[in-house]
Structures are given as C-alpha cells and as structure tokens.
Amino acid sequence: MLLTIASREFRNLFLSPLAWAIMAVLQLIVAYLFLTQVDTYMVLQPRLAGIEGAPGVTDIVVAPLLQTVGFLFMLIAPAITMRVFSDEKRNHTLSLLLSAPVSMSDIVLGKFLGVALFFLVLLVMLAAMPASLYAGTTLDTGKLAAGMLGLALLLSSFAAIGVFMSSLTEQPVVAAVSTFGLLLLLWIIDWSGSSKEKVASLFGYLSLQGHLSSFLKGLFSTTDVAYYVLLIALFLILAIRRLDQQRLTG
C-alpha cells in the first residue's frame, strides 16, 4: 500500500513539466560547476605534485562539487515538495486517500518515499559527472561513497521537511516559501557567532550543512547518520499528526 502511493507520487512528478525543467537546469548548472572545478585542478596540479600528502582530485573536485549540489538542492527541493499535500487538498483528491483503507502513516510515508526517490534519481544522474573522472584518474571511492550517502540523507531530510510543510497549507507557494525558509535556517544556523559555547555547539549540531561536511571529508559517523534519521522521523511524525488533527478539526 505504501509502495502504491510512493510509486504514484514518483510517477506524478514526471507528469508535470516542473520536474523535467528542474532536472535540466540542475544538470546544466552542476555541469558548469564541475568543469570550472576540473579547470582549477588542472591549474593547481603541477604545484600539488611537489607537495607530500597533498589533497587529491577527490578533495579538490568532488567534495566541493557535492557540497554545492547539496546547496542547490536546498533551492529546488521546495519546488518539488510543495505540491505533495497542497495539491491534493486544492484538487479535493485527499478524500480519495482518506476514504481508502490505508492508514495515515502509509499516506505520509508513501508520499515521502516517492519524493525521496525522485531526489535520489536526480542525485545518481548528477553523480555521473564525478564518476566520469574514473576514466582519466583514480578517485578515492570511499570518500565519494561517503559523500553520496551524506547527500542522500540530506536530500531525504529535505523531502521530509517539505512533506510536512506541504501538509500545513492548501497553497503550494506558501508551502514552498516556508519549506525554503526552514531549510535555509537549518543550513545557516551555525553561523551565529554566539560566545556561549553550549549554544554554539547546539546550533552546530542542528546545522544541516555541518553534518554533511563530515561526510564529504570521508567521515562516516553514526552521530551524523542519527541526526538525519531523527530529523526525517520528526517531520514525518509531525506530518502524520497534522493530517490526523485535520480530520478532527475539519
């Protein structure tokens, strides 16, 4: 049942031109960034050759690229997630799901999986670019894999936050703006130069980006995985509660 809803959601995305436009634009921008990054490496390469233990191509090309991909996704994720529940409410199609023999958690999880799967497809397509470097050089596969895992977790949390925000309102644009606001806040939250160490470390822990950067360094730590998993679970539970609440209050 979960998978039925997830696959419908996933395929629905491809029915709108928006998803295709986003895919095209994203590919173009990432390709441009990738080429400039490779260019930088070419310039640096002769100097790096003389240094002992210098950063390799993975550190100079792949890590910054994946970091930027994460940032770009923050910009486009709201446009994808905004219509998840808002559209259903506006088209009065939510009652189809509500009167079908499926539970609220099936509906929310299904929607989340559909969107997350779409993001992963996009990510895999973008990963083809750094992977193409294998043709001319050797990459640090471990670092690349850790970076991809980090991004996959990051994108899934974008999806969860977007699904929740979409359950709050009937207006897709409102959902998009508030999703973007929350994502941006979580992205920059560790920028606050708080003098108190406890506050700073709390904000540092909450930051979406902070946890990604350790993945990009090739660090696979359970703290970071737990952060993303907790974030996803939190917002999905909130979305389920929200929809249940709506049945009570109308």
Partner: protein, 316 residues
C-alpha cells in the same frame, strides 16, 4: 433477501470550533436500501457523509460499517465503503485507466481481478472509450462519472454519493439514477441531493436533515401514503353551499378556499363520486375535483423553512 444492517450511526455529533454542525444523528441503513439525504445548504449533509466515510472524525458518537466500528478498525471498515465527495476526487494529470488502476490498488482489489473490476465500473458508468483520455480534458459530467466509477470500483457494501448528479445532462442523470437503483439491489446506498424528484425516483427511504438535526425519516412507501393525503379540492363555476357539502356522506369537514374552491376532508374511503353527484344535483357547475396531494417539496419546505425564519445564524 436477508436485511443486513450495513451502516449503524449512533448519536453523532460534530463541532466546527463552537459551531455545532451535526447534532445527535442516529440512523441505520440496511442492505438493499437507497437512503436519500435531503436538507438545505449547510444543514450538515456533507459533514455527516464525510464522517461516515472516515474523512472527518466525529466529535462524539459511533459509526459502524457492516458491523465493523469505523473508529476502532478504520482500515477494515473503510474497505467496505465507496465514497464520492461533492467534488470528484480525480487527478487531472492522469488518464481514466491510470486513475482507476490506482484506485483499485488503493482499495486492495486483488491483482487478477483489477482489470475485470475496472472494465465493469467503466461499463456501469458509461465510460467506455474514454480510458486513454486525460481526466483533466474530460467534461465535468464525465469527471463526475469517473468519480462514481471510483466509488463502485471495489464493489463495496456501502456506497456514499454526495450530490452525484450535479453537472450531468438529463440523459446522464437518467443513466446514473438507473445505476443507483441497480446498485441499491445488493448494496446499501446513501445519496444526498437537492433535487427532490430524484429522491422520489431512486430512494427507498428519505431523511431530511436540518440545522444538524434529523427532522424527518420515513420509508418511501409511508411517505407516499402520507403524501396521497386525505382531502379533495373542489372547484365549481358558481359558489357552493358549504353546509350541504359537509352533509355528503364520508366528508368530515369542508373549508372554503379562495374563489369558488373548497377543500373537503375525508376519513376513510374517497367520497369523490358522491361530491360530484351533490354538485351536479345543485347545479353549481363542476370545474375540477382532485385529490389534494402533498408533495415531497411541501414536506421539505414545511420542515426546513419554519425554523429558518426564527433563526438567522447561517450554518457553516
């Protein structure tokens, strides 16, 4: 046919904030019944139907579908329901086939029976040949039919239709009425509508809901007898003598109406022929002699207008 109780609703309440939309509604629906839900706009019809279909949670009360409590076991209970809301819940981006296949999967129709169920629902709702068209490109009437097809697709025990004939042309309305009567033979159906003749044509029971309360609930048979009435209206060319009419055998009372019209009440058998004989014997000139039929519309207006003048608060 054994009459199985398909829906049992007990003391249903629903508040929107402080506004009481549905108050203490209780009723039952047996297999083979078509229940017509009538009421002015905002009376609570849709709210009640949304609660029975599980789209809204009641503030208080119990609902059981085919013996399964909707609040305790929503999943099992909802499997027995087909629901068409006021707005057909269709996705404009899907084709009719895609949409119905999705609905079949949502309602757990077994894989091998899906095609058959879809073909049957499409044939019943007159959707043959539209399978590959986008729902968004269909006319309102066809979208409505897709909505009905969705509600009957999984062959549920109970079908709840909220204003199913809105936006349809007269031919389609007749088709849908036939479909409803056909479904009513094996299922239990709740139908809400504003069109009173529709109720008389399709329903076996009528309930009128007004300001959140159930104010009228009768089977169509009882209603028909009641509507036939126990009065005659007589119109004559010249003024009749009321006292003489009162003495006609079988007439219990007579009131003069405007013009040369008189209403004659009777208790047992219809005294029309004796009245006619009396009129012609006195040479008043018979113009018309007819049974005073009360229509469903009058019942509706009587029940829902009297209170409306006293209360001004608009229902939500």
């Amino acid at each position: 046919m054994d009459t199985k109780i398909l829906i049992r609703v007990e003391k249903l309440y629903r508040y929107y904030g402080h506004h009481l939309a549905v108050e203490a509604i209780s009723f039952e629906l047996a297999q083979g019944e078509v229940l017509g839900f009538l009421g002015p706009n905002g009376a609570g019809k849709s709210t009640t139907m949304q609660m029975i279909s599980g789209n809204l949670a009641p503030s208080a009360g119990r609902i059981s579908i085919n013996g399964i409590d909707l609040l305790d076991k929503p999943r099992q209970a909802k499997a027995e329901i087909g629901y068409l809301p006021e707005q057909p819940p269709v996705y404009p981006d899907l084709t009719v086939n895609e949409y119905l296949a999705y609905c079949a999967r949502l309602h757990r129709v077994i894989k091998g029976k899906r095609d058959q169920a879809m073909a049957r629902a499409m044939q019943r709702c007159g959707l043959e040949g539209t399978g590959r068209r986008l729902i968004g490109n269909l006319s309102k009437g066809f979208q409505q039919r897709v909505g009905i097809a969705q509600a009957v697709l999984h062959n549920p025990a109970v079908v709840i239709l909220d204003e199913p004939t809105v936006g349809l042309d007269p031919n389609q309305i007749r088709d849908i009425r036939t479909l409803i009567r056909e479904l009513g033979e094996n299922h239990g159906i709740i139908l809400s509508t504003h069109i009173l003749p529709e109720v008389q044509a399709t329903c076996s029971r009528v309930q009128i809901i007004h300001r959140g309360r159930l104010v009228f609930s009768e089977s169509m048979e009882t209603l028909r007898q009641r509507l036939t009435g126990s009065a005659l209206v007589l119109e004559t060319a010249g003024p009749p003598d009321i006292d003489m009419l009162r003495q006609v055998e079988g007439v219990s009372a007579a009131d003069a109406l405007d013009g040369n019209r008189t209403r004659l009440h009777f208790d047992a058998d219809n005294p029309a022929d004796r009245v006619a004989a009396c009129v012609s014997a006195h040479g008043w000139g018979l113009v018309e002699l007819a049974l005073d039929r009360q229509t469903l519309e009058q019942v509706f207006v009587d029940l829902t207008c009297s209170e409306q003048t006293s209360g001004t608060e608009a229902a939500a």
